[in-house]
Symmetry: C2
Subunit: 351 residues, 2 copies
């Protein structure tokens, strides 16, 4: 093995801790490559790896944690509960971009992880030599902890906040409150809420935001106006919307925890000859493609989906690499996108 080049005086005399840029200057190796070596990831020529580690040692940096042979696998598994929900595609794009940037491979698995199949799932993680897991699932705490004992985990979107497992999500309470404020500002008071399965944290929090906004506006909560569905299913939501629109308590607005439900309300209104937004204002959640495809197009909440995926994977890579600069968890900003289904002031004409 060749000796590392002698240290340059300007670095030796500097009492400060050597930086990536010092190592880059001495070795002539790019910062990106040095980062890959320090993070034990692949795609670095063995000679380059040896050269950089030699210089690091001579600078007094502890290289005992680093390996001449990079880790065997760079596989990250991204688990989604269901591909039927178009919500995940952009999140996956973000996570994939981060994985690539960090020389990791990201593969996607679709599984609703429960007690009955968690062992099968951890066997999959081991068999595929996965180094980390991003989950967007609603999981029981003991299952999440079990997964985290198998490989480092980051929770994306749906999460349990009181475990010591990082998450990247949005503030669903505040976001639902904001969407409701928009509806209330239009003068609507009989606001129905169609919500997803209440076992999900997002559903619990959006319900809280809905109730909070009613309280702030001094509107009496009416339990009949809260429709809890057992799954995100278009036909089920059409039936539920028709039922309440045909009842004596006909709502003058709908807030829904998913754009699929909002599209269902529009379908139901159409069948009953009720005009959206004139008779009934509709606001959805998630800004998936159907929200702009619908007629009228749907006012909705945009989640920064690409960023949710990207940052989840960035945090996971830091966990895998035991990087001390790791940020624990994050709440990302949301925004309301106002479209035809709530544009009364724009004097929207249904054709």
């Amino acid at each position: 093995m060749k000796e590392p080049p002698p240290l340059r005086k300007d670095v030796c005399m500097n009492k400060k801790k050597p930086t990536y840029s010092d190592i880059s200057r001495i070795t002539g190796v790019s910062m990106a490559t040095i980062s890959r070596i320090i993070n034990n990831s692949g795609s670095v020529k063995p000679e380059t790896r040896q050269k950089v580690m030699g210089v690091m040692k001579s600078l007094g940096i502890d290289t005992s944690e680093l390996s001449i042979i990079p880790r065997e696998s760079n596989l990250i598994i991204f688990n989604v509960p269901s591909f039927d929900n178009p919500f995940y595609s952009t999140i996956i794009h973000g996570a994939k971009a981060s994985a690539k940037r960090n020389s990791f491979t990201l593969l996607i698995n679709e599984e609703n992880i429960q007690d009955r199949n968690v062992d099968e799932f951890t066997a999959l993680l081991k068999k595929s030599k996965a180094t980390g897991l991003i989950t967007t699932n609603q999981l029981a705490p003991h299952i999440l902890e079990k997964l985290d004992r198998t490989v480092p985990v980051v929770q994306c979107c749906e999460c349990i906040r009181d475990l010591d497992i990082p998450f990247v999500t949005i503030n669903d309470v505040a976001t639902a409150h904001m969407a409701m404020e928009h509806i209330i500002a239009l003068g609507r008071k009989k606001i129905a809420f169609i919500n997803g399965p209440i076992r999900y944290k997002y559903a619990q929090d959006r319900l809280k935001g809905y109730i909070q906004a009613l309280e702030y506006a001094g509107i009496q909560k009416d339990q009949d106006m809260i429709i809890q569905l057992s799954e995100i299913n278009f036909d089920m939501a059409v039936s539920a919307a028709i039922q309440i629109l045909n009842s004596p308590k006909r709502p003058d607005a709908f807030f829904t925890s998913s754009d699929v439900y909002a599209a269902a309300v529009i379908k139901a209104a159409k069948r009953l000859g009720i005009q959206v937004p004139r008779d009934v204002v509709v606001v959805g959640f998630d800004n998936v493609e159907i929200s702009s495809m619908c007629n009228p197009s749907i006012t909705t909440v945009n989640q920064p989906r690409y960023q949710l995926g990207f940052l989840s994977c960035e945090i996971l890579v830091k966990r895998i690499n035991n990087d001390p600069t790791i940020v624990g968890s994050m709440y990302l900003e949301t925004e309301l996108i106002i479209r035809e289904s709530s544009s009364i002031s724009l004097n929207y004409q249904e054709s």
Copy 2:
């Protein structure tokens, strides 16, 4: 190692080739487990495996191809070009069900495989120890052959038919012809066709079916009525539809090679105050969720997506296991689902 149990007389005297059921009877091991052993897959106790193989040997069955240690990996990669297309979710469900049934694990990758990244992709296959690949991508022949030299490949939906690589797909020419016949039967003659990127086999074939149907009906083909878009993009299709609807050649019907395009035509018609289906009949393709969510709901072609995925994976497993009962390739049946966007006879009223 314990000796296998002595052979029962009724089997020994039978000159026929012993069957799974004979082995099961002698060993007391279930047929499913015997199948897993013969297919070299995991999830079988080593003792059971040894016992069954001992009996098989004594029955004169060649067990030299079978291993006491099952293959290291049971991973199948299912590659999609893009998660943005909701078309793939049900196909993946089908493939996953088949993988599970055969004791394989299926993980999903999203990659547009081209010359620039094919080496990266084959590296992924090797690193993850994948045993097989299902691809739904449009691939250059030399790339497909390269992938097939790395692991056994089955093509699903999009395929190159003249290579010796199995495929499971539909007959796009005949299906497009059938959809066009429905439009022509409604008395429409000015039928526009919005098509996806022509590099895809499905786009080439659906165009053929469109032209064939016009010829059969004695309708002159008009090149201005054929709109080739460079991607499956809703906004792009809305613009294209507005342009042709505003032109002197305004179509009285649209056939589109994707439901996303059909939804875009409905949006464009709405903006221009043109009624669907009265003024313009619209027929899509794929029967994705938006086709029933749209107002009016969209007449479309249903592909047997679950079966496409399931059978692709069944064939792949047989390829992996060198199973002589393998079926080469398959064309599956399609059906036309008639909804509001072409229901003139039902006297559909736009509200």
